[in-house]
C-alpha cells in the first residue's frame, strides 16, 4: 500500500522534474532559439489547462450523478475551437497586435484604456477564480486522503486543511519562481508553458490508462461496457432538460473568458497558425479526456460501495483492484491537472492585479517623486509575487469556508458563471464598434453584482456572509428578492437562474447603455482597430526566428542608417555572439541595441514600432501611433524649415543671375555706345581734317572755294558741338541730375511755338499739320521748355522721315483726369514692327538717314525728358503711319 509519506515524496520528485523541465526550457528560450518550444503541439497541450482536476476527477463524478450532462463542459469549447475562424482568430490577432497581457487588459484597451474597466474585470476574475482554485486544492486533498485512509487507523486522523495549506504554499512557490522570473514585454513564459505541456501529457496518459484498465481489465471489452451502461443507474438521461443548451453556452463562453485560458490562448500565443492546429487538436484532446468517463463512472457505481464519493472513482477503482502503480499514475494525473491550472491561473491573475490595481496605486502614491525605471520594475515584480501569494491565499480561504463540502462540478460551474460576465464586453468589443466604455462598465458591474448575490454568496451555504434566512425568505423578508428566485422566477436550478439573470441583465445593460452613450475619441479609434483588426494588420506570420528576422532587420537598418554603418553594427553584434561572418541572432540585447541605434535616426517610438513589426509581429497601438506622429511632426517641421531655406537661396540665386545678366547687358550696351560715339565723332572730324588740310596745303584757292570749304568746316564743327550737347544733355537727364524749371503754361501755346520752330513758314512747308485748337486749351504746370523740346523733336521727325507723297501730321490732345495725352500721327509708312522697340535707344537710326543731320539721340532724349516730367512717351503700333503718344501729368510733382 502506498503510504502518505511515499505520496509526498512522489509529489516532490514530480515537482522537481517539472522544475527542471521549466528551467531547461527557459534557458533554451533565452538563448534566442525558441524552436520546438514554439510548436503548435506545445501550444495545444498548454491549452489543456482547461481540463483541471475538475475534469480529471469531477467529470466521472458528474457523469455518475447526471449522466451525459458532463459532456456539455467539453462540447462548448469544442464548438468555440472548431469555430476559431469566427472568434478566436480575431481575439488572438487583436491580442498580438495590441500586446495584450490579460482579459482585463483587452477590455480596458478596447474601451479607450479605461482603468476602471480593468479593475472591474480584475476583481471579477479574482473572485471568479477563487472557487476554482479552492476546487483544485480540494481535489488534491481528497486524493491524498484516498491514499492516507487505510493508514488513518494507525495515525491520528489527518487534518485536511493542513494538506490543502501546504499544497497552496508549494504551488505559490513554484509559480513565483517561474511566473515572475522576468518582466517580459509580451508576458510569455516559456518555462511554465513547457512544464504545463508535460503535465498535459501526464494527465491524458493517466486518464486513458485508467480508462483502458476499466474497459478491458474490469468490464471485459467495449461491448460489455455498453451493456453495463444500459444496466446502470445512468442508463437513462434527461437529455432535453433545461440545462443542456445553457451549459454548452456557458462552457463555450468560459473557455474564452477564463483568465488562465486567455493567458495560454492569447498571451502565450507566438504564431496564429498554431491556432489552426489547436482548432482540431484541442477538441481531440477533450474528446480523449471524456472518452472513458462514462465507463469509469458506470463501473465505479457498480463496484464501489454506495456511499463512495464518485468524484474519486478514478483513484479508488484501481486501488480497489490492487493496481497501485496505476493508482499512483492516476494520482499524478490529478495532481498535474490541479497544479497546472493553479499555476497559470495565478500567473494570469497576478499580471492583472499588479498591472491594473497595484501599479496604478503605487504610481499614484509616488506621484511627484522621481522614479527610475529599475525601481518600477522591482515594484512590479514584487507586486506579481505578492499577488500570486494573495490569489492562492484567497483560494485556500474559500476552501476553508466551504469546508470542502461541495461537489467538484458545482464549484466549477460557479466560477464559470462568474468569469463569463466579461463575455458581452469582450465579444461586443471585438465585433461592434458602437460598444462603449459606459456600456461595458454598466453591464460588467450589474452582472458581477447579480452573480455575487444569486450564486457566489449562496454557495457558502448560509454562512455569515449570506445568512440562511435571506436565502430562504429574501433580504428583510422581501420575497421577490430571494437570491435564488429573483422576482419569483426561480425554477429549481439556482445555476441556470443565476446565469440567466446575471448574463441577461449584463448583456441588456451593455447594449442599451452603449446605444445611449457616446465614446471618447481614443475609444472610437481603439474600437475601429479592434473590430477591423484584419484590415489593419498583416498576415499571421509569427515569430520569425533566426536568420529571417535578422535579415529583415539588416535590410531595414541599412535603409535607415546607411549600408556600411548597419553592416558594421551587425558584424559587431555577430562577433559578440561568436557567430563570425554570420548574421547575429535577434536576441533581446541585440534588438535593444538596434532599437537604440535606430531611434537616433527615426525617433524612439518609430524605431520600436519598426523593430517590433519584424521581430514580434506586433503592430502598433494608438499610443505608439501618437508618439510616431509626434516624431514625424518634428521631422516634418525640420524639413519644412530646410525647404524654406533652400527656396530662399534659390530666389537669391535667381536675383543674382538677373542682376548679372543686366550688368552684362549694360556692359555690352556701354561698348556699343562707345563705338557708336566714336563713329559719330569721327565722321565730322575726318571731314574737318580733310578740308582744313586742303585749306592749308592748297595754294591758289579761289575765294569761292575758300568760302565753301571753310563753311563746310564750320558746319561740321557745329554738328560736332550739337552732338556733344546732345550727349551731355542725355547724360544729365539719364542721371536724374537735371533741374526742372516748372512754370504755368498752356498746351496750345506750347504746340504753337514748337510748330513754328520746325516749320517757320507753314504755307511753304511740304508737311501739312492738322490740329484741334479747341481741345488744346489745357493749362499746364510743367517745365515748358523741355516739353517743347520733345514736341519739336516729334514734329521734326515727321518732317524728316514721313515718306508719304503729301506728308501730313495730325496732333490730337486728350485730357484724362489729371493727365493729358498728346498724340502725333503722320500718314507715312510708319516704323517696321521689328524696330519699334529700338527707336528710343541711343543712336537708333533706323536707316542711314545720316544726312538728316541727327545722331539718333532725339527720341532717347525725349524719353528721358518725359521720365523726368513724370510722364512717358511711347510708340503706338497700328496701321496708317507712325504714331507717338506723349502722356504727362497736368501738374508736375515738384522734384524733391
Amino acid at each position: 500500500m502506498v503510504g502518505f509519506d511515499t505520496l509526498v515524496v512522489v509529489c516532490i520528485v514530480y515537482v522537481a522534474f517539472l522544475f527542471i523541465i521549466a528551467f531547461a526550457a527557459e534557458r533554451h528560450a533565452q538563448g534566442g532559439h525558441a524552436g520546438w518550444l514554439r510548436s503548435p503541439v506545445i501550444y495545444t497541450l498548454s491549452l489543456s489547462i482547461y481540463c483541471t482536476a475538475w475534469t480529471f476527477y469531477g467529470a466521472v463524478g458528474y457523469a455518475a450523478r447526471s449522466g451525459l450532462e458532463f459532456l456539455t463542459i467539453y462540447l462548448g469549447p469544442t464548438i468555440v475551437f472548431v469555430g476559431w475562424w469566427w472568434f478566436l482568430r480575431k481575439m488572438v490577432r487583436v491580442g498580438r497586435m495590441q500586446r495584450i497581457t490579460s482579459v482585463a487588459d483587452l477590455i480596458s484597451s478596447r474601451y479607450g484604456k479605461s482603468n476602471l474597466l480593468a479593475v472591474i474585470v480584475t476583481l471579477l476574475a479574482v473572485v471568479g477564480t477563487t472557487p476554482y482554485i479552492a476546487l483544485q486544492l480540494q481535489s488534491v486533498t481528497l486524493s491524498f486522503d484516498v491514499f492516507a485512509a487505510p493508514a488513518a487507523e494507525a495515525w491520528a486522523p489527518r487534518d485536511r486543511t493542513s494538506t490543502a495549506f501546504w499544497v497552496a504554499v508549494g504551488l505559490a512557490l513554484f509559480t513565483v519562481l517561474f511566473g515572475t522570473r522576468s518582466l517580459d514585454a509580451n508576458e510569455q513564459h516559456h518555462g511554465v508553458v513547457t512544464a504545463i505541456a508535460v503535465e498535459a501529457v501526464v494527465k491524458l496518459v493517466a486518464l486513458l490508462a485508467v480508462g483502458v484498465f476499466v474497459v478491458w481489465g474490469v468490464a471485459g471489452g467495449p461491448g460489455a461496457v455498453l451493456d453495463r451502461i444500459d444496466e446502470s443507474a445512468i442508463a437513462q438521461w434527461q437529455g432535453t432538460g433545461g440545462r443542456w443548451v445553457p451549459l454548452i453556452f456557458l462552457s463555450g463562453a468560459a473557455v474564452i473568458c477564463l483568465p488562465r485560458m486567455f493567458q495560454v490562448t492569447v498571451v502565450e500565443n507566438s504564431d496564429e497558425r498554431h491556432l489552426a492546429t489547436a482548432s482540431w487538436a484541442f477538441p481531440l484532446y477533450l474528446l480523449l479526456m471524456s472518452l472513458f468517463v462514462v465507463p469509469i463512472a458506470v463501473i465505479g457505481l457498480a463496484v464501489q460501495p454506495p456511499d463512495a464519493n464518485p468524484d474519486l472513482f478514478v483513484l479508488t477503482l484501481p486501488l480497489a483492484f490492487e493496481r497501485e502503480t496505476l493508482a499512483l499514475l492516476a494520482f499524478l494525473g490529478g495532481f498535474s491537472s490541479a497544479t497546472s491550472m493553479v499555476i497559470v491561473a495565478a500567473i494570469a491573475l497576478s499580471t492583472m492585479v499588479s498591472n491594473h490595481i497595484v501599479m496604478p496605486l503605487w504610481l499614484r502614491m509616488r506621484e511627484g517623486t522621481a522614479t527610475v525605471s529599475g525601481d518600477v520594475r522591482n515594484v512590479a515584480l514584487t507586486a506579481r509575487r505578492l499577488s500570486i501569494g494573495g490569489v492562492l491565499a484567497l483560494g485556500y480561504t474559500y476552501y476553508s469556508f466551504t469546508s470542502g463540502s461541495e461537489a467538484l462540478a458545482a464549484i466549477g460551474l460557479i466560477s464559470f458563471v462568474g468569469v463569463t460576465q466579461a463575455l458581452p464586453a469582450l465579444v461586443g468589443g471585438l465585433f461592434w464598434r458602437g460598444a462603449t466604455r459606459r456600456g461595458a462598465a454598466a453591464g460588467l458591474i450589474a452582472g458581477f453584482a447579480l452573480w455575487l448575490y444569486t450564486l457566489f454568496l449562496p454557495s457558502f451555504g448560509g454562512s455569515w456572509l449570506l445568512p440562511a434566512t435571506i436565502l430562504a425568505d429574501g433580504p428583510f423578508s422581501i420575497h421577490w428578492l430571494r437570491p435564488q428566485a429573483l422576482f419569483g422566477i426561480g425554477g429549481d436550478d439556482p445555476l441556470i437562474h443565476a446565469m440567466g439573470w446575471s448574463l441577461g441583465v449584463n448583456t441588456a445593460l451593455f447594449v442599451v447603455v452603449s446605444l445611449l452613450s457616446f465614446p471618447s475619441p481614443l475609444e472610437r479609434l481603439q474600437g475601429a482597430q479592434f473590430v477591423n483588426v484584419f484590415q489593419h494588420s498583416t498576415g499571421p506570420g509569427g515569430w520569425i526566428g533566426g536568420s529571417a528576422a535578422a535579415e529583415d532587420l539588416l535590410i531595414m537598418s541599412q535603409r535607415l542608417l546607411g549600408a556600411p554603418e548597419a553592416q558594421a553594427l551587425f558584424q559587431a553584434a555577430a562577433h559578440r555572439q561568436g557567430k563570425e561572418g554570420n548574421l547575429p541572432d535577434p536576441t533581446r540585447e541585440f534588438i535593444d541595441l538596434l532599437e537604440r541605434e535606430l531611434s537616433g535616426s527615426v525617433g524612439a517610438a518609430t524605431a520600436h514600432a519598426m523593430v517590433g513589426q519584424i521581430t514580434g509581429g506586433v503592430s502598433v497601438s494608438v499610443e505608439d501611433l501618437l508618439a510616431v506622429a509626434d516624431e514625424t511632426a518634428q521631422i516634418m517641421e525640420y524639413s519644412a524649415q530646410l525647404e524654406a531655406k533652400s527656396k530662399e537661396l534659390a530666389e537669391t540665386a535667381a536675383q543674382l543671375r538677373t542682376a548679372n545678366a543686366m550688368l552684362t547687358q549694360l556692359s555690352v550696351q556701354k561698348d556699343a555706345f562707345l563705338s557708336q560715339i566714336s563713329h559719330e565723332l569721327r565722321t565730322p572730324m575726318s571731314s574737318i581734317r580733310a578740308f582744313s588740310e586742303i585749306l592749308r596745303d592748297t595754294r591758289g584757292l579761289s575765294q569761292e572755294e575758300f568760302q565753301r570749304f571753310s563753311s563746310i568746316i564750320h558746319d561740321e564743327s557745329l554738328r560736332l558741338t550739337r552732338l556733344l550737347d546732345d550727349l551731355l544733355d542725355l547724360s544729365v537727364l539719364e542721371n536724374g541730375q537735371v533741374t526742372l524749371h516748372p512754370e504755368e503754361g498752356n498746351l496750345a501755346d506750347l504746340l504753337d511755338r514748337a510748330v513754328s520752330a520746325v516749320v517757320p513758314e507753314p504755307r511753304d512747308s511740304r508737311l501739312k499739320i492738322r490740329r484741334e485748337p479747341v481741345l488744346e486749351d489745357v493749362p499746364l504746370y510743367t517745365d515748358c521748355d523741355r516739353l517743347r523740346q520733345v514736341f519739336i523733336n516729334l514734329i521734326g521727325n515727321a518732317l524728316k522721315y514721313c515718306d508719304a507723297a503729301e506728308p501730313e501730321l495730325r496732333i490730337k490732345v486728350r485730357v484724362n483726369g489729371t493727365r493729358v495725352a498728346v498724340e502725333f500721327k503722320d500718314n507715312g509708312s510708319g516704323i517696321p514692327e521689328g524696330q519699334q522697340s529700338l527707336i528710343f535707344e541711343k543712336f537708333a537710326r533706323l536707316s542711314d538717314h545720316s544726312a538728316a543731320g541727327s545722331a539718333g539721340l532725339g527720341l532717347a532724349i525725349c524719353r528721358e525728358i518725359m521720365r523726368n516730367l513724370g510722364g512717358s512717351i511711347s510708340y503706338m503700333p497700328g496701321p496708317g503711319g507712325a504714331r507717338f503718344r506723349v502722356s504727362l501729368p497736368r501738374r508736375v510733382a515738384q522734384a524733391a
Partner: protein, 96 residues
C-alpha cells in the same frame, strides 16, 4: 493564351478556392451547434418516454459527431494554413 493570362487565371482560382475555404471555416461551428443540439429534438429512450434519452445511444452519437468534427476541423485547418489563411488579396504567393 499567353503565359501571363494563364498565371492570372490560376491566381484567380486559388483566390476562389481560398474564399470557399473561409466559407467552410465559418460554417463548421454552425454544423457543430446543430450536431450537439440535435438530441433536444429527436432522441427518445426505448420506452419512448418524453425527454428521456438512452445514455448508450446518445453517448455513441455524441462521440461519433465529435470525432467527425475533429476530422473536418483537421482537414480544414491544414488547408487553411497551406492555402494561406491570410485575408490579403492574392499576389504574395509563389504563383505556382
Amino acid at each position: 493564351m499567353s503565359r501571363r493570362a494563364e498565371h492570372a487565371l490560376l491566381l484567380e482560382q486559388r483566390n476562389y478556392r481560398r474564399r470557399r475555404l473561409h466559407d467552410a471555416a465559418f460554417l463548421l461551428p454552425v454544423l457543430a451547434v446543430l450536431l450537439f443540439l440535435l438530441p433536444l429534438m429527436g432522441f427518445r429512450a426505448e420506452d419512448g418516454s418524453e425527454g428521456v434519452v438512452s445514455t448508450r445511444a446518445a453517448g455513441i452519437y455524441f462521440f461519433a459527431a465529435w470525432a467527425l468534427l475533429v476530422l473536418a476541423a483537421g482537414v480544414l485547418s491544414v488547408r487553411l494554413v497551406r492555402g494561406g489563411g491570410d485575408e490579403r488579396p492574392a499576389g504574395g504567393g509563389d504563383g505556382g
